[in-house]
Amino acid sequence: MTQSEIEAIIERYGRKESSILSILQDIQTREKYLPREALEYVGEKLQIPLNKIYRIATFYRALSLMPRGRHEVCVCMGTACHVRGAQRVLDQLKLELGIAPGETTKDLNFTLETVNCLGVCAAGPVVAIDGQYFGKMNPTKVEGTLKQFRSDKKKEAADGKA
C-alpha cells in the first residue's frame, strides 16, 4: 500500500483523531491486514502516538496485524452447530490446512477462524468461506469444499498466464 493510497483514505475521513477507526477499517479492507508501516504513517499524520493505535488495532477482532489469506474460512462454533459436531468439522479443517484457528496458511491462501454464531443454526454445522455459506457440514465434506477454493487460485493463475 503506497503512502498516497493511505493519504487518500485519511483525506476521506478528515485529519482528526476520531477518524482513526474508520481509517484502520479501510486499510484492513484493502490490505486484509494492517501493515506496521501504514500504522506508523497514519499515526504521524493524525498526531496519534503509536501506543494508542496499537491498542485499538489489537482490541478489535475485525482488525488484524498479521497478513491474512485470500480466503477466510469461518467455522461456526455456536450451540446448535456445536451439538451437531462443529468441533469435528473444525478438527478436520485444522488437519487439512495444517493451521490452528486465527492462523493463516504459509501460501497465504486460507485463514481459519472460529465464530460464535453465523445465524443459520438450522443449517448447522455451518462453515462460511468468503461469506459463502456451506451448511450441513461434516468432516468428509471438508476436503471437497476446500478444493474449489484451492482450484480457484490455480484457475486465476492460469487465467493470468493466458
Binding site: 506496521r36 503509536l50 501506543n51 496499537y54 491498542r55 489489537t58 482490541f59
Partner: protein
C-alpha cells in the same frame, strides 16, 4: 467547600476532588492500587470501593472516580463494602500471587485462600498506572494496554522494544507491584520489561553517566534548551 460525611464523621472536600482524595487527606484508610494523585483517576483496581448514600439511595462505587457532592454519605467499612473488597482482593491475588504487597494487603483484609486459577507466569495487575504516567506526566507514549479481555496486557507497541521510551524510570517508580525493573550497567540503562536499552551521557565535570542521550535530546527539543544545556549533570550544575 463541600461538606460530606465519611463513616459518620463530617469532612470537607473541595470542588473537583474525588472521594478517595478527601478520605485519604482526612486520615481514612481506603485500600487502593491504581490511584496516583499525579494522573487522572482510572478506577482500574476497584479496591477503593465504597458505599455512597445520596438522597437516601445507596450505591457501590470506586471512591477514586466519584466526585465529592454536597450531602453525600460515604461508608468505607460497611459489611457490604468489605465483602466486595475481599472478593476483588482475591481476584487480584490470583493475578499476581508472587507480590509481597499484594499478599500483605490480602492478609490484612482476611483473604486466606484463592479460589481462582492462579497464573504464575503473570505478575502485572493491569492497573494501567505505568502507561498513564507515561502518557500524562512524561508524555512519551511508550506503552499501552493491548489485546482484550483475559488476554489484556501492558506492552510496548508491536511487542518489541518501546521505541518512544526515554528510560526515565517513572513507570518503575509508580508500579504498585514492582514488576517493571530498571538496570544500569556501564554506559547503558535498560528498562527490562519494555526491552529498551539506551546509551547514557557522561557529565563533563564529574564523569558520571547521568541520563540517557535520547532522553536529554527529547527534553532539549521540547523545552527549547540550548545545545550544551545537558553537558553537565544535575548535581554538578549546583
Amino acid at each position: 467547600m463541600i461538606p460530606i460525611t465519611i463513616d459518620g464523621q463530617p469532612v470537607e472536600g473541595k470542588e473537583g476532588e474525588n472521594i478517595l482524595q478527601v478520605a485519604l487527606d482526612a486520615g481514612f484508610d481506603i485500600p487502593h492500587l491504581c490511584y496516583n494523585e499525579n494522573v487522572k483517576p482510572y478506577g482500574a483496581c476497584r479496591l477503593c470501593l465504597v458505599e455512597v448514600v445520596r438522597r437516601g439511595r445507596s450505591r457501590m462505587t470506586t471512591a477514586c472516580t466519584y466526585p465529592v457532592m454536597e450531602g453525600i454519605e460515604v461508608l468505607t467499612q460497611s459489611e457490604k463494602v468489605l465483602r466486595a473488597r475481599r472478593m476483588i482482593m482475591e481476584l487480584i491475588l490470583a493475578m499476581c500471587p508472587g507480590d509481597k504487597l499484594i499478599q500483605d494487603m490480602a492478609k490484612q483484609m482476611g483473604v486466606e485462600q484463592v479460589r481462582f486459577k492462579k497464573d504464575d507466569n503473570k505478575d502485572c495487575i493491569l492497573c494501567g498506572l505505568c502507561a498513564r504516567v507515561c502518557d500524562e506526566v512524561v508524555g512519551a507514549h511508550a506503552i499501552s494496554f493491548a489485546f482484550r479481555g483475559d488476554r489484556r496486557e501492558m506492552v510496548p507497541p508491536f511487542l518489541g522494544e518501546a521505541m518512544n521510551c526515554i528510560a526515565c524510570g517513572a513507570c518503575v517508580v509508580v508500579c504498585p507491584v514492582d514488576v517493571i525493573r530498571m538496570k544500569e550497567e556501564g554506559d547503558e540503562r535498560t528498562i527490562i520489561r519494555w526491552k529498551r536499552t539506551l546509551k547514557m551521557k557522561q557529565c563533563k565535570v564529574c564523569g558520571n553517566y547521568f541520563a540517557p542521550w535520547f532522553q536529554l535530546e527529547k527534553f532539549k527539543e521540547r523545552a527549547k534548551l540550548p545545545k550544551d544545556f545537558f553537558d553537565v549533570c544535575f548535581t554538578c550544575r549546583g
